[in-house]
Symmetry: D3
């Protein structure tokens, strides 16, 4: 597993496989290879027979501010000689198809400990989790596709209507609005811990999980997830293929790059 | 577009195509040809490349009190020589198949400004919109199919369970109960403006829409809707065909006509 | 209909077919044959042309505490000579396939009067009802599959995500948590009567139903249900087959029997 | 049933409901109301409990040469004052939605005795039959949509790929090629009687049917059809709605009318 | 695995798991428990990691003449005190749900060596195989559901239209016609060995299989089957549930028992 | 369009967009970038309003011998420092997702002039075409996935069962057998030109196409394809995503590379 990323740690405490985003200084933004590493960790968890739950944790203020602007700029510049198509096939399509698929077909229970805002592809992965806990009411999910010249990613064209309802999804996606706690409560978030420290939140979740899973027959859990997945599996896979090919056209035309750049300039001035 | 109806106005303020029901005196009830005109306006908006949002507004106390009883009576009497089947194929099936389809396959974002109650087919069209805003908490949707001897129309057999949930749909449809603000909030209505004047409400929505769409890359919006529609497109089309053919049997047997007539007599006495 | 059970009564008050669980002393727990009798009553209601609503009532504190432990133990011991496979095919698979199917394809409106907690297969049947009313806020549904070494039953792998949402379903199923009134409200329960006496509750519901159905054209009601069922019918049938065959493996391996036994011992000490 | 048409006869010889196109002089071309009458006969057969098989026969050289050009011209001219949209909603959409639906949801076994060529909507109905017998090898189906400025009708966008395969369907539809006996054999036609007289053919089929159904338990037949229909029912209904709404656009633009007229002129010269 | 049946043998010659029906004297008719044993052997093959192909062979003149009449009669008489419903749940529903499911979800390549006719459920299982070889042109499949008062079994409501096409399926099922070699060729049978001795046929197939699989990467084979199964898996499971519950009604009403009895009497006279 | 490949030519002769594989010396094997260029040409044809048919031609003996072994080897060696995962995401996943999608969503009629054998991904693209003509009876399609340690590519897990039937697909895929003319005839190939010179074949097809499309209303053709595609569109996209992610695992494990290498060595000795 050689996309090793300094920004992501993991440890196994059977039956839990705990993955932690650990770059709070840069709000846990992730470059392309970080997302690949994350997906590879999921694959590792999937193959480990003593693992029944895959837990995503983060650190600091944000769960993850999404794709790292710098890495996008870099991708664009490194292989200047390559055709635009090939560049974005390698840097966008192949990565998103793989990462989304690893979340989509994960056989263990995916639990997300949402300590703060999640943006873009990171928010999409959160929407692919089976269970989400929030640290407090300040969390939100933001899918800025419409303001970045993109379309939905990470199977959000399926997960958001499924989990938030159709009209709330349009409201959030069309106007680039954050989906706040009051919308996520019940539909995405099943428990709010009401804490203010990410480490304490992570610990509290793990303590409760350990206690709750104590008397369970763990193979039943995987059997139940398998049955539940049948309902949406095919739709998620279908969305994955269509989304990346639609987004590819955006990248080849160049709008997202332009808007990421503007955003990055603005951000340097104002701090997010 | 020659079903021109004095009850419906429209104007284009790119990227918005604004359609307004403007017959507040008769609570914006619509005759068969009015619905056709409404659908034709949607088609016009769909084909206009500078349009990204199609906004439905109304006027006065009601969004729309649904099908105009008089027009139903008239339809029945004009072509007395025609077989019952043919009469209702022309007056009901063909109109509903077309109107529902125009809403179902509309490619622009459909926004409904719900200033008051919507009933019957008008309520069904509201349920087909992507985004609904309410003027205040007095709005409701009413689907009186069970008391009129009809079955679901306008793909409500798909949209209501999808948006309101299965059991709430049964409760509303089986007992002819209005679906009030507290049920619509979150699931159908994504923002309540808390106003009491329809004109001010319409203006407030348009002002906010203009401001919200300012920084968006508009082609992304249509790309996102296209991806979201894949999930329900086929189901909506299927429902459209089955619903009209089931309802046709009701019309040919004559129960709805009888009940519409009773209702119309009652109404003349009590005012709605 | 010869699975006659002393625990279940029924009466016909057209257009209502009223089925009542009447074993409050044992919390309306049901043995295999009781479930079959219940399903046969549904079939009877389905075939009776003067019936439009099938109403499930119960008695005492619990709606139904689920499968009767004793009957499971007995099933296991009677036919000691039979292969394990055949034993559980007869005692589990065949019963669940039939009962679930009778609820899934029932053509009349299924109304559940939830006077108290429902557990296991009984709770699954409640989740298959079209409309659920609660007596008060103390009701809950409990699906203890994960702690009993089982997987979802009674098409709950479809009904729970459909009615409660995906993440709430995982939260409840994976950790064996009761789904309480605040989660059921709106999604499963469409009205709470706020009463404390089951008989008064049952009477209140029937009084309201009689009054509400007064002005309806009853054939419309069945026509509307037929249209609504198209959306989920195939999914429910598919789930039924997969669930029983997955559960069969659990029974053949013996985990559920062991855990039912433990539970039954514990219960004898503590009272539930 | 008041679309009574002198071109179509029927008789009931339980368990058979026999419908016969009886206008050999005009090659059994059918006007709009003739198709409605045909569909109404199907409905009558469907509701008759002593009917298990609905048999379509014809007379003369052609099974049916499709829509009667004259009736199309007439439709166009009668209601000159009506908007184009309304005219074609009444004359095309409503008729096709209904006729296709009556074939799609017919519960009895549909048997077509193909004595000769079938064209257009008539050919589409033949493709909707469960069983087709041919008189001899001169039969063919022709779907001249591409040369008439139309799109597929009568759910042929589903039935043809299903029965003939994908590529053979493209070959036939895109180039307006007749689908001849060698393609129909096995896929659509299950027996060829090798006769040259339509009356003898009709008699031979009925004789064989009577003998073949002798020892059957007839309710099983309807039960089997119900199970087989589940596979394609929803797809057929969905196609019905989409096809008519797509075709409507063609009619409103006017291309089919123009091409039907040309064809009619040509025909008058050359004889078909 | 304790339904051990003297009529079925098996042996493992990795990568082949070979199951052989070995009761040629009674034309390899199978009683309920024989079918269970067959399904259990499939499960055994599925779980054995060194198995990639599960090969079904038979012996003598028939592949399998289907359900053993005697066993049906016996089932009926043993538990005379049991309600009819329960009797057929145990003897028909549970067995068919399980056997069909074991074939439906089998992960190894299912190869059927069709040495002669297969009838009823045995023929249905043959239609569920991935690959079928015939000994000669005298083989046929017969599904006598319509003459036995039954409906389709073993997911034939899905497999037959899928493999033989829609109209050929109706022709065979509605008139109780054997599906002969010329119909099976290409669609079900991919190679005909043109032999006249079952043992030589079985040997010839195994020889060819060994040689053909020589250079393959066997894990690819299972990966490909997994991808191919996605297309029909859900449909097969759905059919399984609906078919058994529809058939159950037939058994409870008693028609199949009566007809099986008649058949058995006739047979004793004429020899099949 | 900068993946320009010397191996592929194109010209536009409205309404035809003609793409020609022009590397007969190396049997029209294609490297990764050649496939991208081919897909980009399809996109160009899709966007050109005067194009209604996209025709694929080839040259020499083979239509295309599939992926170029050398290019696979090169891909492997160039970026030795890159993680295996990333290498195959760039070289396999991203390319296949894009190429398959361009064929899957192509709106113009795709016609393949099959002059000789097609292998691997090239054969998969041929199976995605709407219409295929053969030069003579020596053509075949070969999908050597099982012998190369791969799984299905290019949506063949959907197209092959759809076009060839389920059992014929298993026979071909499991044993790495060429699918010869007699299997392709009717199902994939709709006309055989019986010629022996590729240039003459290409000319003959174009001549016939020009003549056949003469009297058609071309927009109807695209309208019909749109309706036909609804049936399989979602399935093809779903297959695309699942196939590439399953194949990715194969590449990361290294089996295909090993087997491609062996094949390439063997080939150098024997000539293909």
């Amino acid at each position: 597993m050689d996309n090793y990323s300094g920004k992501i740690e993991y440890r196994i405490e059977a039956p839990f496989f705990i993955i932690k985003l650990s770059d709070p200084g840069r709000l846990n933004s992730l470059a392309g290879n970080d997302y690949l590493y994350l997906a590879q960790l999921l694959e590792k968890a999937d193959e480990d027979d003593c693992v029944y739950f895959t837990v995503l944790q983060s650190s600091g203020r944000f769960f993850s501010s999404g794709a790292d602007y710098l890495s996008i700029g870099k991708a664009q510049e490194t292989n200047k000689s390559e055709p635009e198509l090939n560049k974005w096939l390698s840097n966008f399509v192949s990565r998103n198809v793989y990462v989304t698929d690893m979340f989509t077909r994960h056989r263990k229970i995916l639990i997300c400990c949402l300590n703060g805002p999640a943006i873009g592809l990171s928010a999409a992965l959160c929407a692919l989790c089976d269970i989400v806990y929030s640290m407090n009411e300040n969390v939100y999910l933001l899918f800025p596709f419409a303001s970045l010249g993109l379309v939905t990613e990470g199977a959000t064209s399926v997960t958001l209507p499924l989990k938030l309802g159709n009209n709330a999804t349009y409201q959030a996606l069309m106007f680039n609005e954050p989906i706040k706690y009051d919308k996520l409560k019940g539909s995405v978030i099943t428990k709010n811990y009401g804490l203010n420290d990410t480490e304490k939140f992570n610990t509290a979740v793990m303590d409760e999980l350990r206690q709750k899973t104590n008397h369970l027959y763990l193979p039943s859990i995987l059997g139940i997830k398998k049955l539940l997945m049948i309902n949406i599996r095919d739709q998620l896979e279908r969305a994955n293929a269509v989304e990346v090919n639609d987004a590819l056209k955006c990248w080849v035309k160049g709008e997202p790059q332009k808007r990421f750049k503007e955003l990055s300039l603005k951000q340097r001035k104002h701090k997010l």
